[in-house]
Every structure is written in structure tokens, then in C-alpha cells.
């Protein structure tokens, strides 16, 4: 602030057209007598009201820094501080340049500080001034909301309690603003949401008040906003998803908001909120899917701008055009939520008129929001085996999907690659064309991403791709990924990535020729990695997967020797045969079984070696096991010795 004060005389000298009277007002602010200063401020107030020229003059003469200084001085009387705030507010009422000048002098923190004063009049003056400044389009909003956790700041300052009682105000406007406040406060904020459930006003809990505001004769705005509050509370876990206020009130209300009778804005908001509400709950998805023909209703979202509006009414066309993107992305989002879990719902969605065409078109729309929502929708529907085989193939959705994956932002990549995972399942007819269009390279690059979700999806898709694939594809994957990257992934901190990488290895190491081929080229590294994992601190699933890889290796003709010559590994297998976890025992047994199988060359030597290691004794023990799987397996293995 001090620097501002110093600047003032400099500016003065530059300006020649400043009137003497303006200068007089500013001079008086520097008087030593506080009483005179106060009178000077009051006079200034009267002089600037409605006089833009005067305002501009005062600003260039450097009145603002001085006023702010007076406003912040603890020694200033409250009256003086209040008058200063009033004058500043008056200055803010002028041109946009005025507001800019005020912002340049850091007026916001000064005024916010003023809100802490005990004097109501002063607070009011500060608030008025703040309001004027924030209404102006030149003021950036983040000046007030500096962090993502301003919800928490407001919350910590008791916003909930203070706003709650406004919900029962007699004025509709007040009720509505309070409700809006809550919808913003609670949005994706579990802390606020959890608190709201237990707040009561006049003996009524907030959820009850919100439900009352959902009544069908209430204004649409009110219904929609209270539905948003309840949705946030539900998603935060503050209200159960099977609570009647969600199932019988919030959900139907949101479905109504999607109806043709509502305004386009309301329909967008309704669909988005509903999508959020039902996103993770299959029962809510089922209910929504049967409510008021929602799935059919949503198809209408794609009909803007309608052909009629184009001809008849320019205004309407403009309106429709403006909302067309929003409508489409909202519909895609809601379809995505609806079809997230239930196969019947997916089928219903795809049977909606031109649905697949709409998704395909959506994937190549200019609006990234629509593209993203379309991918989400596609992803949700791609969970259906039947659809993968039919409509997905008929509409060649893989083409636009591959296109979306090029140079897309991460958010889009995550969903798109996730969809690709499903399209690469072995029964998906899209698998071949996707491979041909260079998917391997793309997916391999994803595994190197900083983004965890992308790494998981990349390796996952490769795993799916490798399942029952031909030799060439497997080689391509290995080459594309490079051994270093493969081992990098095996040491990834995320267990999901590790699991999928092991899965990829396992899928690569299937069918004897493939096993032998891969082990002949990468045998050493793979055996190393396997040893490392079996020795490391990993969960059961990881170890099981690793043992399964060993079992696959043991199934190879030449690859077997890599195990048989590695005593360390053999000891580990032996160890897991007697492990407390039956799954690991079983997996270890697969290895043994493959190693001692009779008909194969050199089986006798292997059997002997393993007997010497004491494996047979363990097998005998296991053949007495209470676990029928283990028992059967052990008996079959023992039979190999008898033959």
C-alpha cells in the first residue's frame, strides 16, 4: 500500500487537465486533523455521486491509495472508515477503468479485511463495495475464490448454519438464493454434505426441507436446485441411495427435468445431475431407466436445432444452436450412467433410434465436451458382450474411437483407452481392424504415461490384445513395449499395473510354440522378474498370477528347462505347494503338474529330480487334503509317477 501512496505525486505531475477542485478534495485527505479528514471524505462522497468525470479525476489524483490507507488504519474512527468504503464503492460504480484502477491498488483484500470489523455499518459498506466490484465483468473471480477448497473455508466459517435459516424465509428470492448456496457448497464435497443431513431449521431437518422444495408445484428452478443438493448429499454418502427421498423424490424430479416441457437449460442440468446421481448405483440406474420413458425422452436431446426452428424463427434457431452441444453431451452422460451396469438397459439404449450413429457422430464433433461425453457413453455400452459383437461392429465405432485417441487430452484418453480395452476383447470383431490401425504403438506409449489410469488402461488393453493372439501380434507387442518397459511396469508402484502386466505376460506365454519362442528370447529376464516378484512383498493375487506364469512356462517344451535348471525357482514352487493359501497351492501345483507330465520328452528325469526334492511327499500329503481341487490335482500328479 505504501508504494501506492508514493506513486501519487508522480502521476499528478503528468496530468495537466486536473481541476483544482478535485485536487482540493484529495489534499484534504492528508490533513492532520482526523475531523477534517472525515469532513473531506464526506464532501468527496457528495461530489462524486453520479459524476463519472469527477471519479476519474480523483482516481488519477491518487485518492484511492489514500482512501484505502485510511480505511485500513486501526487508528481511524469507524465513521471515517465507513465513509471511505462508501466513497470507494461510489468510485467502483463508474467506468470499467475505475474498477481496474481499484483492483490495481489491491482493494479486495482491504475490503475483505474490513468484513472482520465488529461494526455493522462498516461491514455493510465494505460488502456493497465488494458487490459492485464483483458484478463488474473486468473483475476476475479467482480474486475471491483463490483455492479449490473455498467450500471448506465457507464451511469452516459457519456458512451452513448461517444460510440454513434463510431456507425458511418468507421471501422466495431469499429461499432460492440460500438453496443455490447449498447446492454449490455441497457439490462433490462430502464434508459439507455430511453436515447438511443433520442440520435442522425450526425443528425440521434439511433433507426434509429440500424434499418439500422438490414438490411438483414449486417453481422449476427450486425443484432442480434442491434436487442437486440432495444428489450431492447422496453421492457423498450422507443419504443412502435407497432412501425414499432419493428413490421416490429426487430421481423422479430429475427425470421430469429432462422432459420436453422444460427449458433447454433445465434439461441439460437435469440430465447432468441425474447422470451424477445414478452413476454408481445399479438400482437407481434401473429405476431411472423405467421412469417416464427416460431413454426415449433423451433421444430428443439430439434433435436441436430442429429443422422447424431453422426455417421459422431465427431467434429460436440461435437459442437452439447455443444449447445443442450442451444437450448432446448431457444426454451422452446420462446414457453412460444408465448403461453402466445393466445389460438390459444397455440394450434398450442401443435400440433407441439412431443411437449408434449419434455416438459415432458425437465422437467426431468439434466440441470436446461432446466428444468426451460420447466416449463415456460408448465406454459404458462397450461393457456389453452382445453389443460388441453386433452394433459396435455394424457401425465400425473403432474408427472414430481410434481417431479420438490421437492427441487427446488425458481425461479423454482415459475413457477412450478404457473403451478400447473392451473393444480388444477376444470375441470382439473390432479387434482385428484396431490392430491393423496401429493400436499397439499407441497403447505401448500409454503405458509410459505419467497418468496412472492411462498406464493401467494401456497395459490392460495390451493384455486383452495378447489373449489367444497369434505369434505375430505377440511379437509386435513385445517389440513395441520393449523389455525395459516391461520390467519397468513389473516394478510399478501401482498393484493394478503390476497385475495387468503379469496378465499380459501370462497371455503372451500361452500355447507351447509361443512359450518356447518367447522364453528363448526373453527367458532370462522373465525368470528374473518372476523370482523378484515371488520374493517381494506382494499380495496373494500378484503371487498367484506369477505362479500361473511359471505354470505356463512349465508347459513349454524347451522353456521347461529354464525352471528345471533353476533350483531357486524350484524351491519356491515347493514352498508355495505347502503355503497356507489354497489358491497359491493350486497354482504351484499347476507348475509341478506341467513339469512331470509323462508323455513328454525327459519327463522321467524331471520326475526324479522333483522326487529328490521331496515333492512327492508333499503330493501325498496334499492328496489327503480336505480341499477337493487340491486333492484331485495331487492325485493326478501322483498318477504320473505311477505310469
Amino acid at each position: 500500500m505504501a508504494s501506492c501512496v508514493l506513486e501519487a505525486p508522480l502521476r499528478m505531475s503528468v496530468l495537466s487537465e486536473v481541476t483544482a477542485s478535485s485536487r482540493h478534495y484529495v489534499d484534504r485527505l492528508f490533513d492532520l486533523d482526523p475531523q477534517k479528514v472525515l469532513q473531506g471524505v464526506i464532501d468527496m462522497k457528495n461530489a462524486v455521486i453520479g459524476n463519472n468525470k469527477q471519479k476519474a479525476n480523483l482516481i488519477v489524483l491518487g485518492a484511492v491509495p489514500r482512501l484505502l490507507y485510511l480505511l485500513q488504519q486501526e487508528t481511524s474512527s469507524t465513521e471515517l472508515r465507513t465513509e471511505c468504503a462508501v466513497v470507494l464503492g461510489s468510485l467502483a460504480m463508474g467506468t470499467e477503468n475505475n474498477v481496474k484502477s481499484l483492483l490495481d491498488c489491491h482493494i479486495i483484500p482491504a475490503l475483505l479485511q474490513g468484513l472482520l470489523s465488529p461494526d455493522l455499518k462498516f461491514i455493510e459498506a465494505c460488502l456493497r463495495c465488494l458487490r459492485t466490484i464483483f458484478i463488474s465483468p473486468v473483475t476476475p473471480e479467482d480474486l475471491l475464490y483463490t483455492g479449490p477448497d473455498h467450500q471448506t473455508i465457507l464451511f469452516n466459517h459457519g456458512a451452513v448454519q448461517n444460510i440454513a435459516h434463510l431456507l425458511v424465509s418468507t421471501s422466495y428470492k431469499v429461499r432460492m438464493q440460500a438453496l443455490k448456496c447449498f447446492s454449490v457448497l455441497a457439490f462433490e464435497n462430502p464434508q459439507v454434505s455430511m453436515t447438511l443431513v443433520n442440520v435442522s431449521v425450526d425443528g425440521e431437518l434439511l433433507p426434509q426441507i429440500f424434499v418439500k422444495m422438490l414438490q411438483r408445484d414449486k417453481p422449476i428452478e427450486m425443484q432442480l436446485t434442491s434436487a442437486k443438493c440432495l444428489t450431492s448429499m447422496c453421492r457423498a454418502g450422507a443419504i443412502r441411495t435407497d432412501d425414499s427421498c432419493i428413490v421416490l423424490k429426487t430421481l423422479p424430479c430429475l427425470v421430469r427435468m429432462c422432459s420436453k416441457e422444460r427449458l433447454l437449460e433445465e434439461r441439460v442440468e437435469g440430465a447432468e445431475t441425474l447422470a451424477y446421481l445414478i452413476e454408481t448405483d445399479v438400482e437407481l440406474q434401473r429405476i431411472a431407466s423405467i421412469t417416464d420413458h427416460l431413454i426415449v425422452m433423451l433421444a430428443d436431446y439430439f434433435k436441436y436445432p430442429s429443422s422447424v426452428s431453422a426455417i421459422t424463427d431465427i431467434k429460436r434457431l440461435d437459442h437452439d444452436l447455443k444449447h445443442a452441444h450442451e444437450l448432446r453431451q448431457a444426454a451422452f452422460k446420462l446414457y453412460a450412467s444408465l448403461g453402466a451396469n445393466d445389460e438390459d438397459i444397455r440394450k434398450k439404449i442401443i435400440e433407441t433410434e439412431n443411437m449408434m450413429d449419434r455416438i459415432v457422430n458425437g465422437l467426431s464433433e468439434s466440441s470436446i465436451k461432446v466428444r468426451l461425453a460420447a466416449v463415456r457413453c460408448l465406454h459404458s455400452l462397450s461393457r456389453s458382450v452382445q453389443q460388441l459383437r453386433t452394433s459396435f461392429q455394424d457401425h465400425a465405432v473403432w474408427k472414430p474411437l481410434m481417431k479420438v485417441l490421437q492427441n487427446a487430452p488425458n481425461e479423454m484418453l482415459v475413457v477412450a483407452s478404457s473403451t478400447l480395452c473392451n473393444l480388444l476383447l477376444e470375441f470382439s470383431p473390432s479387434k482385428e481392424p484396431i490392430l491393423e490401425s496401429g493400436a499397439i504403438e499407441l497403447l505401448c506409449s500409454l503405458t509410459q504415461s505419467e497418468n496412472l489410469a492411462l498406464r493401467v488402461n494401456g497395459i490392460w488393453a495390451l493384455m486383452n490384445m495378447a489373449f489367444q493372439a497369434e505369434q505375430k501380434i505377440k511379437s509386435d507387442i513385445l517389440r513395441g513395449l520393449s523389455t525395459e518397459q516391461l520390467f519397468q511396469l513389473l516394478s510399478d508402484s501401482d498393484v493394478n499395473v503390476l497385475m495387468k502386466t503379469l496378465g499380459l505376460l501370462r497371455n503372451l506365454l500361452s500355447t507351447r510354440p509361443h512359450i518356447d519362442h518367447i522364453m528363448s528370447t526373453h527367458g532370462k529376464q522373465i525368470m528374473q522378474a518372476v523370482t523378484l516378484i515371488l520374493e517381494g512383498e506382494h499380495n496373494i493375487e500378484v503371487k498367484e498370477q506369477t505362479l500361473c506364469i511359471l505354470a505356463n512356462i512349465a508347459d513349454g517344451t524347451t522353456a521347461k528347462e529354464l525352471i528345471m535348471t533353476n533350483d531357486d525357482i524350484l524351491q519356491k514352487i515347493k514352498y508355495y505347494m505347502s503355503h497356507s493359501n489354497a489358491k497359491l497351492q493350486l497354482a504351484a501345483m499347476f507348475c509341478i503338474s506341467n513339469l512331470i507330465w509323462n508323455e513328454e520328452e525327459g519327463s522321467q528325469e524331471r520326475q526324479d529330480k522333483l522326487r529328490d526334492m521331496g515333492i512327492v511327499d508333499i503330493l501325498h500329503k496334499l492328496s489327503q487334503s480336505s480341499d477337493p481341487n487340491l486333492c484331485d490335482k495331487a492325485k493326478t500328479a501322483l498318477q504320473q509317477y505311477l505310469a
Binding site: 414438490q215 411438483r216 408445484d217 428413490v247 421416490l248 423424490k249 423422479p252 429405476i287 423405467i290 421412469t291 417416464d292 420413458h293 445393466d342 445389460e343 438390459d344 440394450k347 461393457r383 456389453s384 458382450v385 478404457s418 480395452c421 473392451n422 476383447l425 477376444e426 490392460w460 493384455m463 486383452n464 489373449f467 496378465g503 501370462r506 497371455n507 500361452s510 500355447t511 500361473c548 505354470a551 505356463n552 512349465a554 508347459d555 499347476f590 503338474s593 506341467n594 507330465w597
Partner: protein, 736 residues
């Protein structure tokens, strides 16, 4: 050995439910699939029903007929849900009807539980039951729920609506005027054997609700409290709640309001009230109330004048201090001509027209041809004077027409509030009662032979109306008690001048509007059928038949002449063909074209003539009232014009009604104000009663003579008032 490889199937990213698709399923038209499964044991456990869900009905099997407490609860809930319904006149459904069901249906637990007791072999074994009463229109929005206690063998259950008389050996939805939602496939059936994919399937434990919106005539269903969306549109009126079952073991329980509903129907009702009220609030209206009042009075007055209610119009003009555009004599002339046409004396009507309005028919050759054709038909009927003069004895009855030109009741299409003449007491006819008989019969029944006995008591109706206003239930007995008082002198005079020549073989004057109205009230269907059997061509007179044939030739010539002058006219050709076809049958009244002989067919001819006369006098050929009503047909422009309006206006402060009252003649107003006009659906009846018993004897008497018409008129006024939102300018001032 391959086991390890077999386990590598880790590929599928998301588990997907493998359930077989449930829908859509097609079905042959008008056919129900054959059962394919053996009967399953039926679960009757009551405890299961009582589990969670507010909609559960009676707790167990032990529950018999509902006790007085439950009955009270039911009444309380019904009153709250349907405040506009007068349950004395139009009772609400409270249970299934033991009389109106197929015999494969069994009822228990106070006729609320329905079970199937047939063989259930195929669709021919389907069985339905209707509720005791139809859904009163004054409900506005009606709702009931059905809980599936057991789906039985195949769960072929249908829940819906049907009109009275629809075959009960069927599931709801398969036939005309029948609508249903079926559990096995979730399809909706709209008067058709083939269903449309509509909603989910339903089965044991589900609660299915059915909501009828009588304002826009749609219906939607709910499942376990979730609205499934519109199932049917353009529903007719007077539908009964209906359920149908088809296989053994199927059991359902109804909830007509005995229990709280699972679906929040009251919320839905609130939405509709708010919707209408905001429409009304938004309706732009001028500030000066007087304008509306004048417009309204003009509407009523012009209606009365148009139809020739001369004395009523005069009385109305007197009390409202307005003037009538048309001259008295002109009105009377028109009335006279109309009466002639409606009495079937078309020849005389043509003569009178030519005499009173020279040139009119010459300028309207189409109208003339229409009249002549009608004249020919009336000759066959034996009513036209040209053949009647030959008649040795009067044909007994078929020719008479209920005197007053009661065109008004026909304008509103076959909607519910246009009915109930005939045997019904007029006070019951607030439009909510079910019509007991077919419209064409009950509306204008022909006179019975017995009518002559009471014919001397023509002025009786004044008293009748008195009794009507005080106690509607007594009105049936009016004829016995109403043999005094003066009648409207004007009407008597009119009657003297224009006796309806049908009944009188003697010269006694016995006919006037009033009298005839009486007759209508007394006729019933049996007497009409009696009379039908005695009809003969041209009254059975040979000379008359000759005259008719000659007239037919003239008519043929006229047709040819018109054809030469104006070109071919298919309408004329058809008209002529139909008329001549009557002669091809030995009993023209019971032949495929016999409908022409129905007196009701005189109405369009009469209306056309009346309009032509008015047009020639530079008066509107349609009264504004009728134009407004005509919009009713086009729902788009005036969607809510029926008595369901009362429901929607429910809860409006009575202040809003004052404007309506202001537009009424003073005595009427006073009467109405004494009641809370929107207290029940008898609002309109209140007007009538008030009008009838007012001090204005003229007004009174005339009103009585056209009681039915006036009754309907007032109903319509009420609706129009509502439609033009005339009721509610006060809302604006209240807002401020």
C-alpha cells in the same frame, strides 16, 4: 494339462450380466399365447404382502371386509383426493363389483382381492372385473393401485380401464374402450389385441398404479411408486378401473384409497393445479371488469336469441339491462320455422320460409334441396303435412319431436356433460352421471302412447322446478305434484299458434314446449320400442303413398335441374339415393338406411336453415357461445375445457368467483352467493336452481320449459368463463 492355459482367461474387463432379453415380444393379433408351464403352487402368505412398502394392503388372509375405521379412513382420503366430486351423485370406486365380472373371477376381503378360478388354458379363459363405479369426471385426476399378491402360473395379468359393457371374458386392453398394462411382457394394450412396448414387466410383490388424467384424457402407470410415462391418450369418459387375470393362482389386491398410495399422487395433482393456475394468471385481460361482464351477457343473450328462446332472451335482456339485436318478431319467426322442421313438417317449414324470407331459398339451392330431401323422408315417416292430411288415423308416436329447439345439448360432442335427458332426473345431470342408455335413444325419445294422459298438465313444470331447486331427489315425482301455477303466457301463445300437429287428432291445444319436455321425462325405452312396431309407410295410407311417390319424382327432377345449373354434386346424389332407398324395404325403420327416419336427423337440417336465415339478416350464423364451445373439440387451443376444471380451480378463494357472479342477473346472483359456488361439482346446478326459483316469473317459466337446454347452457357458460379466464382478474390485484 491345459488347465493353466484355461485359467488365463483374464480378459473380460467388466463382468456382464447374461440374462436373456425380456422384450420386446410380439404376439399374434387378438390372440393370447398358450400356457407352456405346469401350474405352480400359489403363495397366499399374507405376511409377504405386508412387508416394506407403504402400499401393502391388508396384512393377512384373516382380514375380511374392511371395518368401520378403515371405511372412515377411505372416505377421508377420497374426500381429500377428490374434493370436487359429489359422491352422492357420482360415487367413487371403492371396491370391485361382484356383479360386473366374469365368473372365473373370485372376490374376497371386502371385494378388494381378486383371484383367478378358471382353467387358464388359453386366452379364451381370460377374465376381468370392473370396479363398482366409473371414474367421475370431476376427479380431474384419478388414481388407484393394485398389488400383485401372486403372479400365479404365468402372470398374465392386466391392469387398466374399460367402459361399461366391454366383454369381461377378456383382459383389459384387448377390446374397444378397454385399456390395459400387462405384467408378463410389460406391454400396453390400447383397445387392441397387439400390445406396444410400454414399461417393465411386473410380478409378485409389485404395486402397479394407474392414473387417469381427465383433464387431458391421458393415462399413465406406476410401478412401485415410479411413474412409467404416458400409456394412453384420448381416453373416453366414464371408464371403470378394471383388472384381468388369465392363469390359475393369480391374485391381486386393489387399493382405491383404503391405504396410502405408494406413488405420490397428491404431488402430481398439485403440479396440475399449479399449472392451470399459472396459465390463468398469465392470461392477459383488460382492467375494466365491465367489459367482461358485457361480453358474457352478450354471449348468453346471443345464444338464447340464436336458438329462438325468445321469452328467455327477453327476460334475460330485461334483468341484465341489455338490448337484443334482432327484432322480437324475427326471433319468433325463426322459432316457428325451426319448430316445424323439428316436428317433421318440412313442407310447411319451406312454405313459411318462402313467405317470411322471400328469396332466401332461391339463393340457397343446396339448402332447398336438403330441405326437400328431408321432406321426402318425413313423408315416408308419415309426418309431413302433405301426407298427414291423408291420414285416417294419426300415427302413434314416432313422429313427435321434443318441442323446444333443443339444439344446444348436441354441440358439445358426446362428452359426458351432454346427456341425461330421458329418464334421468335433470338435477342428476351435472355431467358426471353415467348415461344409462345410448344417446340417440335417451336424448330424444319418441312419445309414448301413454303421454296423452298427462298432456293436459302442460304448465306443470314450474312446480317441478321448484322442487328441483330444493330437493333434487324428489324431482322424479314432479308430474304428479305439478299441476298448477301459470305458465309463461308467451309460450302458451306460441303453442296456440303453432300446435305440433302430430299428436292432435282433435283440435285441442295441448302442445307447447313445456308439455313436451314433460313427455321426455316420462318416456322410457320400452315404450319407445312399443311404438316402433306399429309404424307404417306414410302412416299406412295409400293416397299418401301416391303423393309421396309423386313428390319423389319432383325431387328427382329438381336434382337433375340443379345438376344442369350447378354441375354434379355428389352430396346431393348421396342424399337422394339414401332417401329413395327407404322405399326398398318393407320396414323402412328397421333397414340399413333407416337411421334417416330418426327425428334426430332433423337437427342438422334445422340448424342449416336457421343459420341461413340469420345470415340473410346479417346476423352471425353461429352464436359466439357456440364458437367458443366449438374450440373444445380442438383440444390444442382449449385443452382443459371440461368439468375437470372444477378440480383444478379447487382451493381458489371464492373471491375469484365474484366476477362470474357479477355477470349474472341480480336474483340469480343472490341465490348463488348464498352457496359456496365451488363447494362441489353442482356449481352449475346451483345456477339453474337459483334461476328457476327466482322472482322473475317469466324468466322462471321459460327456463323451465327449456330446462335441459338451459341446464346445459349454464354448464357451458361455466366452462367458457373458465376458458376465457374470466373468473380470475382478481388474481392480478391480489398479487400486487
Amino acid at each position: 494339462m491345459r488347465e493353466a492355459a484355461a485359467r488365463e482367461r483374464d480378459g473380460l474387463r467388466f463382468p456382464s450380466g447374461g440374462a436373456a432379453p425380456l422384450w420386446p415380444r410380439s404376439r399374434p393379433i387378438g390372440w393370447r399365447r398358450e400356457p407352456g408351464l405346469a401350474p405352480r403352487p400359489v403363495t397366499q402368505s399374507g405376511s409377504k404382502m405386508a412387508e416394506a412398502g407403504a402400499g401393502s394392503l391388508h396384512g393377512g388372509d384373516a382380514a375380511a371386509a374392511p371395518g368401520p375405521a378403515e371405511e372412515q379412513e377411505l372416505s377421508r382420503r377420497l374426500r381429500r383426493l377428490y374434493p370436487a366430486v359429489n359422491q352422492d351423485e357420482t360415487p367413487l370406486p371403492r371396491s370391485w363389483s361382484p356383479k360386473d365380472k366374469y365368473n372365473y373371477i373370485g372376490l374376497s376381503q371386502g371385494n378388494l382381492r381378486v383371484h383367478y378360478k378358471g382353467h387358464g388354458k388359453n386366452h379364451k379363459d381370460a377374465a376381468s372385473v370392473r370396479a363398482t363405479h366409473p371414474i367421475p369426471a370431476a376427479c380431474g385426476i384419478y388414481y388407484f393401485e393394485v398389488k400383485i399378491v401372486s403372479k400365479g402360473r404365468d402372470g398374465y395379468m392386466g391392469i387398466g380401464l374399460s367402459a361399461q359393457g366391454v366383454n369381461m371374458n377378456r383382459l383389459p386392453g384387448w377390446d374397444k374402450h378397454s385399456y390395459g398394462y400387462h405384467g408378463d411382457d410389460g406391454h400396453s394394450f390400447c383397445s387392441s389385441g397387439t400390445g406396444q412396448p410400454y414399461g417393465p414387466t411386473f410380478t409378485t410383490g409389485d404395486v402397479i398404479g394407474c392414473c387417469v388424467n381427465l383433464i387431458n384424457n391421458t393415462c399413465f402407470y406406476t410401478k412401485n411408486g415410479h411413474s412409467l410415462g404416458i400409456a394412453f391418450t384420448d381416453l373416453p369418459s366414464n371408464l371403470y378401473p378394471t383388472v384381468g387375470l388369465q392363469t390359475p393362482g393369480e391374485i391381486v389386491d386393489a387399493n382405491f384409497g383404503q391405504q396410502p398410495f405408494v406413488f405420490d399422487i397428491e404431488d402430481y395433482m398439485r403440479e396440475w393445479r399449479a399449472k392451470i393456475q399459472s396459465t390463468i394468471k398469465r392470461f392477459p385481460i383488460g382492467d375494466r371488469l365491465g367489459e367482461w361482464q358485457a361480453m358474457l351477457q352478450n354471449m348468453v343473450s346471443s345464444y338464447l336469441v340464436h336458438h329462438g328462446y325468445c321469452s328467455t332472451a327477453t327476460a334475460f335482456a330485461r334483468v341484465t339491462d341489455t338490448t337484443i339485436q334482432e327484432e322480437q318478431t324475427s326471433i319468433k319467426n325463426r322459432q316457428r320455422i325451426q319448430k316445424l322442421v323439428l316436428a317433421g313438417r318440412v313442407g310447411e317449414a319451406i312454405e313459411a320460409t318462402q313467405q317470411l324470407y322471400p328469396g332466401l331459398l332461391e339463393h340457397n339451392p343446396n339448402l332447398l334441396f336438403m330441405l326437400k330431401c328431408r321432406q321426402f323422408v318425413e313423408m315416408v315417416n308419415g309426418t309431413d303435412s302433405e301426407v298427414r292430411c291423408f291420414s285416417a288415423r294419426s300415427p302413434r308416436s314416432q313422429d313427435s319431436y321434443p318441442g323446444s329447439p333443443s339444439l344446444s345439448p348436441r354441440h358439445g360432442s358426446n362428452n359426458s356433460h351432454v346427456h341425461s335427458t330421458g329418464a334421468d332426473s335433470p338435477t342428476c345431470s351435472n355431467g358426471v352421471m353415467s348415461t344409462k342408455s345410448k344417446q340417440s335413444h335417451s336424448k330424444y325419445p319418441t312419445l309414448s302412447s301413454s303421454s296423452s294422459s298427462s298432456s293436459s298438465s302442460s304448465p306443470s313444470s314450474v312446480n317441478y322446478s321448484e322442487s328441483n331447486s330444493t330437493d333434487s331427489t324428489k324431482s322424479q315425482q314432479h308430474s304428479s305434484t305439478s299441476n298448477q301455477e301459470t305458465s309463461d303466457s308467451e309460450m302458451e301463445m306460441e303453442a296456440e299458434h303453432y300446435p305440433n300437429g302430430v299428436l292432435e287428432n282433435s283440435s285441442t291445444r295441448i302442445m307447447n314446449g313445456t308439455y313436451k319436455h314433460e313427455e321426455i321425462l316420462q318416456t322410457d325405452e320400452s315404450s319407445m320400442e312399443d311404438s316402433c312396431s306399429q309404424r307404417q309407410l306414410c302412416g299406412g295410407n295409400h293416397a299418401a303413398t301416391e303423393r309421396m311417390i309423386q313428390f319423389g319424382r319432383e325431387l328427382q327432377m329438381l336434382s337433375e335441374q340443379l345438376c344442369r345449373e350447378y354441375g354434379k354434386n355428389t352430396v346431393h346424389k348421396k342424399m337422394l339415393q339414401d332417401a329413395f332407398s327407404l322405399l326398398a324395404y318393407s320396414d323402412p325403420w328397421n333397414c340399413p338406411v333407416g337411421q334417416q327416419l330418426d327425428p334426430i336427423q332433423r337437427e342438422p337440417v334445422c340448424a342449416a336453415l336457421n343459420s341461413a336465415i340469420l345470415e340473410s339478416q346479417n346476423l352471425p350464423k353461429q352464436p359466439p357461445l357456440m364458437l367458443a364451445l366449438g374450440q373444445r373439440a380442438e383440444r390444442a387451443s382449449c385443452p382443459y375445457l371440461n368439468e375437470s376444471y372444477l378440480f383444478l380451480l379447487w382451493g381458489f378463494p371464492s373471491r375469484q368467483v365474484t366476477l362470474l357472479l357479477d355477470s349474472l342477473p341480480m336474483p340469480l346472483r343472490e341465490k348463488v352467493q348464498k352457496r359456496n359456488p365451488l363447494e362441489n361439482s353442482k356449481f352449475a346446478t346451483a345456477f339453474i336452481c337459483a334461476g328457476i326459483s327466482s322472482q322473475q316469473s317469466n324468466f322462471k317459466a321459460t327456463a323451465v320449459s327449456h330446462q335441459t337446454s338451459v341446464f346445459h347452457l349454464f354448464w357451458k357458460i361455466v366452462f367458457i368463463l373458465q376458458s376465457v379466464k374470466i373468473l380470475l382478474p382478481h388474481l392480478h390485484s391480489e398479487k400486487g
